[in-house]
Symmetry: C2
Subunit: 319 residues, 2 copies
């Protein structure tokens, strides 16, 4: 049988990602076979990104490939899991091998940095979209859940939220920026760095954790709802990047930090007794305390002139 474009495209994904001794069978059979370590539980996430919904249609394929894996790495980071094996379903409008090769390169680079093997998947024809399933492991009982927050604990955020939303706004011509700030913010949207090492380091320290994909305020509401708590945050404590402040000013920067999507930072809670240990983590330097868990009353953010809809995250269908 002559190789069709379909098969040529599929070959772009063969052998991608890291090599792993626990992969018994990778791409090329009906399914992949892997061997999870004894004493571990399996953590599974699947996310789909669609052109025009999750990234602008004209986004370079390398960035799309990076994003397709990054969103799942971020989910596993939020569980404190160690990522291991990915499967990719990519849908392309035509058999564009150059596009597929660049997409594969973006995914491959990120996968190798996190020791993730691409063990299988599927290439199909249709409107541009990519689904990645990522499997990883945690020691049995060791995962970070959304539901463990308790009143009196601290609320923490990693990194500098809002940057990615500003980067998207720049891409779409809704926000003007120049020089290094522009580059920084664009990179934060196009090449998000999921906090995998931080998530693993937070096992046993954080009591609840979620990744910020839909906006800090909305994702904090989800964490609190799962924990049966509320939270109070001080907007003045939000770690806003110089690039974001220079570009957007304090009020818009605060709004983007609270409601912008695509940060892929970790939002977590921990008892005050854990402050020193968190500060001492190699990955902990990026973390800032922004508030406290309360016994109820929803999520309240004080300390700044907040826009009316600051409590709302990003909803694909709702906006």
């Amino acid at each position: 049988m002559a190789a069709g474009e379909f098969e040529l495209i599929g070959r772009c994904f063969t052998g991608r990602g890291a090599g792993r001794a626990d992969v018994r069978l990778g791409v090329g059979d009906d399914a992949a076979i892997v061997a999870p370590p004894a004493g571990s539980e399996l953590v599974l996430a699947l996310d789909t990104i669609v052109s025009g919904t999750h990234f602008p249609a004209e986004t370079a394929p390398r960035f799309v490939g990076h994003r397709a894996l990054a969103v799942n790495l971020s989910d596993l980071a939020a569980m404190g899991a160690e990522p291991a094996w990915a499967l990719l379903g990519v849908t392309l409008p035509s058999g564009d091998e150059a596009w597929a090769a660049e997409f594969a390169r973006g995914l491959d680079e990120l996968a190798r940095r996190h020791a993730v093997a691409l063990v299988g998947g599927d290439t199909t024809r249709g409107p541009l979209a990519a689904s990645v399933m990522l499997a990883g492991t945690v020691p049995t009982g060791g995962a970070l859940l959304r539901s463990g927050a308790r009143a009196g604990e601290d609320v923490w955020i990693s990194g500098t939220p809002g940057d990615a939303a500003a980067g998207l706004a720049i891409l779409q011509g809704r926000l003007a920026a120049g020089g290094a700030a522009r580059d920084d913010l664009l990179r934060r949207f196009l090449l998000p760095e999921p906090r995998v090492a931080l998530g693993i380091a937070l096992r046993g320290l954080a009591t609840a954790c979620i990744d910020v994909s839909d906006g800090l305020a909305g994702d904090l509401e989800k964490l609190c709802a799962a924990s049966g708590t509320g939270a109070e945050c001080d907007a003045a404590l939000l770690p806003l990047s110089p690039a974001l402040l220079d570009t957007a000013g304090t009020e818009l920067a605060t709004r983007l930090a609270l409601t912008g999507g695509d940060d892929y930072e970790l939002l977590f809670t921990a008892p005050p007794a854990a402050r020193e240990a968190i500060g001492a983590l190699a990955a902990g330097a990026a973390c800032r305390r922004i508030g406290a868990v309360t016994s109820g009353g929803g999520v309240r953010v004080s300390g700044a002139a907040l826009p009316r809809d600051a409590g709302h995250g990003f909803d694909h269908f709702g906006k």
Copy 2:
């Protein structure tokens, strides 16, 4: 935060599929947590089905939901794996809750019959498509691969290939049929029954196995390529259903059986010494010997007036 349509749709999928004691955390956190049994390897498959490519755009949502899982169950069946946990990424053009509920029902019914829990996933806006990742288990070293066939062994097929391709042709108005034959063939396309029990039963009996999704002849070529063998089959031995023969006649029925897609039957090889054991399987009644593995020379099918392109399977991009 008010629930958007996105969340309403997502709720259609909560609690779907079978309950399983090994699910530590299902839908609702950043990822799912499951506990694979000791002594097992993990088998992972991901398939995407796209409207207009893998099913007609007007297909009822219940059938789309069934198909989204069935294609993955068939992949795991071909490995001899026991399916366990699924994640779903569904992309919908609008927040059509009724459509999503019917889709979920179709997936749920099939999942329950195979003890598969739906543990997570993602609902996004975009052109209609669904990706399912299915994870299952095999005893360590016990999986059926494509690569184990050896010259002198038998080639077997389960069920009655070609029916699903005839069903699709009827749906698309390319083939006329009436009465019970029409219903049978449509059902074979719309509600394929993956051979999960047969796959498990074939552990230790079959030497190589593949599921027939792209056409028997093309998939046999893939199995032989992976095994470094050839095969000779007799078209007169193909198990053609009465419905297919009545509707299409012998020549077209043979063509559909060899080159039609979407059968989701198992094509496997086994030594002659295994004939009695295979025949004695509860699931083995559906199996028929159609040829023999050869030491080389590609796949040859004799015994009928075969169309020129009978050696070609279905290639999404290639046709």
